[in-house]
């Protein structure tokens, strides 16, 4: 690790192709004979399909074929599988047909497809497909969907309750009985729309001669997609190749295996031609998963001195109309187990009801479950501080789990790896000059101006994760990673990995690891990913796992390369292998550093194999698998400073201070970039973004005109700081950093706004905190 490459903010090697327009995203690809697919979607949230008339569309110019779900079923295609069923929660998994045949259950549900020679003609014909619907009553709110008389989505799911999951630790009833104070809130952690800038796309090519299927797709996890495609298309896994070319952001929305993936395969099989489908943004709003959408009834019990003794929550998690790939794991395992955050809370209980509604399926969106947990606890801590008239920083510090390096068990049953929460808070408060901010706030209040200071101290579970745990919690796969490190005769290196980065920069950071460990120039290392034929099996990029788990596999392969290189060196230098040491890219005889071979010398000899030790295979290549013994738990402290205009309700974010700890940092520039983007998405949940449905299930925020993806002018420059608490979970001591910003920033900004309004006695406003909502809350408080 002596090399300066590790830990340095070198420029990304991904960038040259991206800044010149040479990168190829899925929609950029064209195959000979390729056709274009358009999807006919339901305009109703809930309706019976009475008839579908396709004749007119099929006869239009340039149309190759029109298909319905019945034909897809007849071709043997199975419903879209759900890949996470949490045990002990009586989860119902109603079928999720790729194309609806009898009933549509959300606006955007596919009902037919058109295959045509170009995208204009496909769209024209899709508009000419006639569908007769018999509308049914719809329900969009997760709580209302569980009430008597609510419309039922699936015949075998009474009260629309998909599952009831519980987590408990200690004795929460006793804690509440003995408490001095209790604070309560009802929180709507609103539905968000991920909005990766690249809409989804899939290009499927089935070659009937040999039965091979190639699928190019906007996926975060090509190996999982291949596995799931083998389940619903019926094609064997070894005949399927999935390629994730350049992928334009995902934020969780490109984890799932979507209906269009298998529909395109079906269409290619039927027409004998390659089929490309590219989502329009309007389709993306309806047909790509949404995130969050919890209704939470929460309460916290404490002693007079501020010691938190208990936490209780009841949650209705909206799952949408069908179970998307990882949907049931998000509001349970990734949410409930993190309920106590960074605090020592001995008594906890949570009930989570997963609920079907006539809305777009809900799955992982950046943070996925952890933002819903962090907001809940950070909000309650602030309410408690208000009730006890304590400074929110002081109350947090009082309840922090003390610093630890060798694991710390919490009431929900999991064990955090390492943490130093007071250090992060201290640093953030210093950067913000917290006392000065409080003084400024007091001065401004005298003038009738509203400045707010909001804190959020968080820990999150990521680096998913130990496969044994994945199995125990019902995840339908493993969560290990693999890597192949391959030296070519010239000493250049290819690293093949099972993870599939799409903007996070691991082509650079992984090259930094290999360059540092083996002493090759970083430009001599090329990282390959995103092609199931080219890379070893791996579970993909999500849950801030790519570096935390993927680097473990790389380190395993690097270790094997070093061992083999020592054997080759010992043979060439006629020394004992035990006497060979490694340092700075050279293998040398102990005590005689001039008797040495470089890794490039070894690579050449191993590849030509003219003079190898007896019994040693030729080649310098190693493959390794890494299954982490635990998750990793990055943490930090964020502080938001806002100004609220009490006349208009407008909130302006003036400063944002973030101190994060992701253990060892490989490339600080990339880490900071991840934090910036995460903060923007979390701030946006607090202030601007929110999906809205009307009571009939029409999506009102169905385009970028109606859904407020933040623009450059909405945000300030962020002030970042780091602390470094390594983990022992993986060889490099690294934790994930992809989601921390999103997890931490929503409560920081929300708490800041409510802190600003404290003199007006406003204690709760539903997110997003739009000027109208803030203004109404102020007006109501003044009127009260």
């Amino acid at each position: 690790m002596a090399s300066r490459i590790f830990g340095s903010g070198i420029k990304r090697r991904e960038d040259p192709r991206l800044i010149t327009g040479q990168a190829k995203y899925t929609d950029d690809l064209t195959l000979p004979g390729m056709t274009h697919m358009a999807v006919v979607r339901s305009p109703y949230a809930h309706a019976k399909i009475k008839a579908i008339r396709t004749k007119k569309a099929a006869s239009m110019p340039g149309v190759v074929a029109v298909f319905t779900g019945k034909e897809m079923e007849a071709a043997g295609f199975k419903p879209i599988p759900c890949a996470w069923v949490v045990p002990g929660s009586e989860t119902k998994t109603p079928p999720y047909p790729a194309i609806a045949t009898e009933v549509v259950r959300y606006v955007g549900n596919a009902v037919a497809i058109v295959i045509a020679e170009d995208r204009y003609r496909a769209r024209d014909a899709a508009d000419a497909v006639e569908v007769d619907y018999e509308p049914l009553p719809a329900v969009v709110d997760a709580y209302q969907a569980t009430q008597k008389g609510a419309p039922r989505l699936h015949a075998d799911v009474p009260d629309n309750i998909c599952f009831h999951w519980k987590v408990s630790g200690g004795d929460v009833e006793a804690a509440f009985r003995s408490a001095d104070v209790v604070v309560r809130d009802t929180i709507r952690n609103q539905r968000l729309i991920p909005n990766a800038m690249e809409p989804r796309a899939v290009l499927a090519h089935y070659a009937s001669g040999g039965g091979e299927l190639t699928v190019w797709a906007t996926t975060q996890n090509p190996h999982i997609l291949r596995f799931l495609l083998s389940v619903d298309t019926g094609l064997p896994e070894h005949k399927i190749r999935v390629i994730a070319p350049e992928v334009g952001g995902g934020f969780g929305s490109k984890i799932p295996h979507y209906p269009e993936d298998s529909i395109a395969v079906f269409a290619s099989k039927k027409t004998g031609r390659p089929v490309k489908w590219t989502e329009t943004r309007s389709e993306n709003y309806q047909a790509t998963i949404h995130g969050r959408d919890h209704i939470q009834e929460v309460e916290m019990a404490a002693k007079k001195d501020g010691t938190i003794v208990g936490l209780r929550a009841k949650v209705w998690a909206n799952l949408g109309a069908y179970l998307s790939t990882a949907s049931t794991g998000i509001p349970t395992i990734l949410h409930g187990l993190m309920l106590s955050g960074v605090y020592a809370i001995p008594n906890i209980h949570e009930d989570v009801y997963g609920v079907f509604t006539n809305t777009t399926p809900v799955d992982a969106y950046r943070g996925a479950g952890r933002p819903e947990a962090t907001f809940l606890i950070e909000r309650l801590v602030d309410l408690l501080a208000g009730k006890l008239a304590m400074d929110p920083a002081e109350l947090r510090r009082k309840n922090f789990i003390p610093p630890f390096t060798d694991g710390h068990g919490v009431a929900t049953g999991i064990t955090y790896d390492s943490g130093n929460y007071p250090a992060a808070l201290d640093k953030a408060m210093k950067m913000a000059d917290y006392p000065a901010l409080r003084k400024k706030q007091a001065d401004l209040r005298k003038k009738g101006e509203y400045l707010g200071i909001g804190l959020s101290t968080y820990a999150e579970i990521c680096g998913l994760g130990p496969s044994q745990v994945a199995g125990a919690v019902g995840f339908g796969g493993g969560l290990w990673e693999s890597a192949i490190v391959r030296f070519h005769p010239s000493g250049k290196v290819n690293v093949m990995v099972g993870v599939s980065p799409h903007g996070q920069g691991e082509e650079t950071t992984f090259a930094q690891i290999v360059a540092s460990e083996l002493g090759v120039p970083v430009e001599d290392v090329e990282v390959l990913h995103g092609d199931t034929d080219q890379t070893p099996m791996g579970w993909g990029t999500y849950g801030s796992r790519t570096t935390a788990v993927g680097s473990g596999a790389i380190m395993g392969a690097v270790g094997k390369i070093k061992e083999k290189a020592k054997a080759v060196t010992a043979h060439l230098l006629e020394a004992a292998v035990e006497d060979i040491e490694y340092g700075d890219g050279k293998f040398f005889v102990k005590g005689s550093p001039d008797k040495a071979k470089t890794i490039q010398d070894v690579a050449l000899m191993a590849n030509v194999a003219w003079n190898m030790p007896k019994g040693l295979e030729p080649g310098l290549e190693a493959s390794a698998f890494f299954d982490p013994p635990n998750f990793v738990y990055p943490f930090g402290a964020h502080i938001a400073v806002v100004r609220v205009d009490a006349e208009t309700g407008e909130v302006r974010l003036e400063r944002y201070i973030a101190v994060d700890d992701c253990g060892k940092v490989i490339n600080p520039m990339i880490v900071e970039g991840q934090i910036h983007g995460g903060i923007a998405q979390g701030v946006a949940q607090a202030l601007w973004e929110g999906a809205a449905y009307d009571e009939n299930g029409q999506l009102l925020t169905a385009s970028m005109m109606d859904y407020a993806v933040p623009k450059a002018g909405f945000l300030p420059k962020f002030e970042l700081g780091m602390t470094e608490t390594p983990t022992s979970v993986n060889p490099l001591g690294v934790k994930g950093i992809g989601e921390t910003g999103t997890i931490a920033s929503t409560p920081a900004v929300y708490n800041a706004v409510l802190d600003a309004l404290a003199p007006l006695k406003v204690s709760s406003i539903d997110m997003p905190l739009t000027p109208e909502r803030v203004w109404r809350a102020i007006a109501q408080a003044k009127g009260a």
């Binding site: 420029k11 990304r12 991904e14 960038d15 040259p16 192709r17 991206l18 800044i19 010149t20 327009g21 040479q22 990168a23 190829k24 995203y25 929609d27 950029d28 064209t30 170009d118 995208r119 204009y120 909005n195 990766a196 800038m197 690249e198 809409p199 350049e246 992928v247 334009g248 952001g249 934020f251 590219t278 329009t280 943004r281 309007s282 799409h502 903007g503 996070q504 920069g505 520039m669 990339i670 900071e672 970039g673 910036h676 983007g677 995460g678 903060i679 923007a680 998405q681 385009s703 970028m704 005109m705 993806v709 933040p710 623009k711 450059a712 002018g713 945000l715 420059k717 962020f718 910003g741």
Partner: protein
């Protein structure tokens, strides 16, 4: 509807074609000419991923009909680097980590080009305002703003 003949100078080369009257410029660039560097991120002219320079002005090519570009000079991201040398805005985006997934980047860079043509030393607020027609979901704009500031420095340096 009959097709129209258009002649458009794209990245310095005159291209002629018979196009449908409804063909969007972005589809002409991507599907007819194979210049896929210009991306499509929305269908309501919000995201700016498809921004190109038309006669020097940043336009959203999803909102321009190909026939409207007849006779115009269009620069796409593929035409920005000259003689194998990156444009200072491209260099600055690379240097300052102004991109992650890269999908918004071509549009963002071309918008920044026009911004810096109009104003050689923009303030942070002017940069943020100038980029309001271009959405990025990855960077939180922090490093995009830093990239444009860096590009402005480099371009002023080139002129000096």
């Amino acid at each position: 509807m009959r097709n129209h003949s258009v002649s458009i100078e794209v990245n310095g080369t005159r291209r002629t074609a018979e196009v449908e009257p409804r063909l969007l410029l972005v589809h002409f660039l991507r599907d007819t000419l194979g210049l896929t560097g210009t991306n499509i991120g929305c269908d309501t002219s919000q995201c700016g991923a498809c921004t190109v320079l038309m006669d020097g002005h940043a336009v959203k090519s999803c909102t321009v009909l190909t026939v409207q570009a007849d006779g115009a000079a269009v620069t796409t991201i593929e035409g920005l680097a000259q003689d194998g040398k990156l444009h200072p805005v491209q260099e600055a985006f690379w240097e300052k980590h102004g991109l992650q997934c890269g999908f918004c980047t071509p549009g963002m860079i071309l918008t920044a080009c026009e911004l810096l043509q109009k104003k050689s030393k923009p303030t942070e607020a002017e940069i943020r305002h100038g980029l309001e027609g271009n959405l990025c979901r990855c960077t939180g704009y922090h490093n995009i703003v830093a990239s444009v500031e860096e590009a402005a420095r480099r371009m002023r340096g080139n002129r000096a």
